[in-house]
Assembly symmetry: C2
Amino acid sequence: MADNKKLVEAITPMEEDFAQWYTDVVKKAELMAYSSIKGCMIFRPNGYAIWESVQKELDRRFKETGVENVYMPMFIPESLLQKEKDHVEGFAPEVAWVTQGGLEPLQERMCVRPTSETLFCDFYKDIIQSYRDLPKCYNQWCSVVRWEKTTRPFLRSMEFLWQEGHTVHATAEDAEARTIQMLNVYADFCENVLAIPMIKGRKTDKEKFAGAEATYTIEALMHDGKALQSGTSHNFGDGFAKAFGIQYTDKDNKLQYAHQTSWGMSTRIIGAIIMVHGDNSGLVLPPRIAPVQVMVVPVAQHKEGVLDKAEELLNMLKAAGFRAKLDDSDKTPGWKFAEQEIKGIPARIEIGPKDLEAGQAVIVRRDTREKTVVRFDELADKLSDVLETMQKDMLERARAHRDAHTYEARDYEEFKNTVANKPGFVKAMWCGDLECEMKIKEDTTATSRCMPFEQEAISDVCVCCGKPAKKLVYWGKAY
Amino acid sequence: MADNKKLVEAITPMEEDFAQWYTDVVKKAELMAYSSIKGCMIFRPNGYAIWESVQKELDRRFKETGVENVYMPMFIPESLLQKEKDHVEGFAPEVAWVTQGGLEPLQERMCVRPTSETLFCDFYKDIIQSYRDLPKCYNQWCSVVRWEKTTRPFLRSMEFLWQEGHTVHATAEDAEARTIQMLNVYADFCENVLAIPMIKGRKTDKEKFAGAEATYTIEALMHDGKALQSGTSHNFGDGFAKAFGIQYTDKDNKLQYAHQTSWGMSTRIIGAIIMVHGDNSGLVLPPRIAPVQVMVVPVAQHKEGVLDKAEELLNMLKAAGFRAKLDDSDKTPGWKFAEQEIKGIPARIEIGPKDLEAGQAVIVRRDTREKTVVRFDELADKLSDVLETMQKDMLERARAHRDAHTYEARDYEEFKNTVANKPGFVKAMWCGDLECEMKIKEDTTATSRCMPFEQEAISDVCVCCGKPAKKLVYWGKAY
């Protein structure tokens, strides 16, 4: 297994340098590559396949709630971007501008969408007239561009992939209900499919989306104790409707402004999968999201019958509904094992001449490396058990890690010490003033992650200024 | 059924004005809408759902041939676009240029991809070293931008959706084989799923892709006798490899240039579906591609038991694997029928109080409006038969229409007369000279659609100049 070691040696241990470990995993698992366009990344097949898996699962959940997919233009004329005041202030400084089309300069420059609220509103104002036209629940899968100087695979890049849902409702209550519903769709997906537990809560005014009345978020804790905002859902009230003139006649024939929401999840979530579940051998993918769930690896495959049996097992596993592959390349078994582990494939089946003789194969779990020897006829059932257990264990481990790295602080010294020395979430009370939020960020670089839905009163006073506390807040350093 | 008539009246008969009929169908079936961005269209839910269906079917076929999906940046720096001479000449005049990022002007302007050969090549040169790295068969689903002044839904717009496959091979033979393989994937998909028969052939040098050695195409005939290029597959030889330095060491340790292909199908194909199968009542979708295959329409739904039974039938059909919906809105049955027909949903199930009593329902085929009365317990089986027959009939009708509108011309007078008076394909011999091809286009506005794989010699001389003929060519006016 010398060569096994060699491949893995290329991954910096996460205890040594977490950022380097992350970069190594992305590179060795062939998830992404830097392109020659500054700020833009290339999704390689292994990375894009994870996104396809995410899309498939999320899209099904969206559609179950009545969402329909559409596609809007990628360009936004400057005048359209400017219609909603807060929105343009938030986004105009970070967009890419198209100023020339073909051989001619444009009369009005257009930006490449950083998000598509303005385009959806411009369309909704045309197709919504009556209460009968409501609700409208549209979503699109696309890429968006935000001008960034720094690039980190999945976490930060000029162009990234996401979905953006945009809905219109008759009443404020309907809009709020949809905002929370979609946040719950995200949280359930993350917990049940990605095995990542989430804190659900509301953003402070400082951290909310440009133009939103309220922004809700799901926040996850990475292995290094930093937080990652994993999905957001915004309630716009009737602000955009007033800016764009989206009105409908209600049942009493009165003209009303509509209420809107938007919600998005991006390829950042793949960064979360890597940083929550990965280990020093590479990526570890939760079985429910893994594009390949099991790799069949023949050992001594030149020996009579081994390759035939491996193929037979592959076909049997596929027929049983597993996403299975066979590595029949001319690499050594050790190299194949290391590759399967780096890529985070949840399980491998080892099958060699001795196994063949004994009528058995070995299932090896990626996360614990636990081996299970099984008879051929029980392979599918046992593999199913192994993957289900692994999925459950991964969520439990992630939850235990998060809980063990969630602290409470009752005064400012304790708060600063905790942020400085104990990577993780810090729960602390807040008076609600922007000033304190700014001071905390300046003093510690921790930001308010959210005001959790599950509020507790761990003290009566703001951890920063000592004035009466209004909200419990999760604070933390974040990606 | 007065209101039924009203909805349909809004569609201009195709015999009267085909272009207006097309626009009416797109609008009434709610497939697309014009956006306020000149040249850009909005894919509405009904239109986008067809594209999702196309994606699902094509993507599965691609993957079965070993293709992997990736995602490349949407921007191409000007210097990268310029690397291959023919390519830049073909595309530079029609791209959108980004010249400013955030608040700063760019040092080098970037275009929004009109196609991504240059980006793929730039990546392939980094990841291909040895013959062991070949072949590479990548594809991406994305939007591309080509600066257009005119806009027609699905057929022509500044931004459109497509897939672009880009492959790299060790030898010229492998590249040619992949080029043809993908053309066949397209043709089979069109025939078997979209019920559109295709002429397969090679483009003349004049019509081939900028930078390609050979371009192959599938050409379909629309209802009005115009042709529509429906998919293309290009063999690049080693031209791009030489321009970008894509080299590999072969088994003898010699450095070789790689051979490449690309192939694409776009949302234009939805235009083909509309113009091949649609009728004066609206869209007609082939059952295999229809996002909704059957609409259950209760008649007199206020009568006891009707709605319950309709829901029961819906659930039964869904369980049997049909993509089924129920229209339980408060519209009249006639209105619901008209809507189902406009949207091209292949079948509807009518169920009213009398049917309930008799233990039966009525299946109505969208294309022929043929009615079949069936017992509840045989509904799924009979519906399956109806849809299969309809799929088959649609292909046969389209083939018969194409064959009836495919003419032959042996001299130039006959050729000009045919093009002028008989909309359709004209088969005629060609000497191979660009001059004749140009003259034909100028005299008749017909272009060479392709040199079909199935060559015949319908005459010895070029239909235009009378010199010895080299190739049989399909000519026609085209979208």
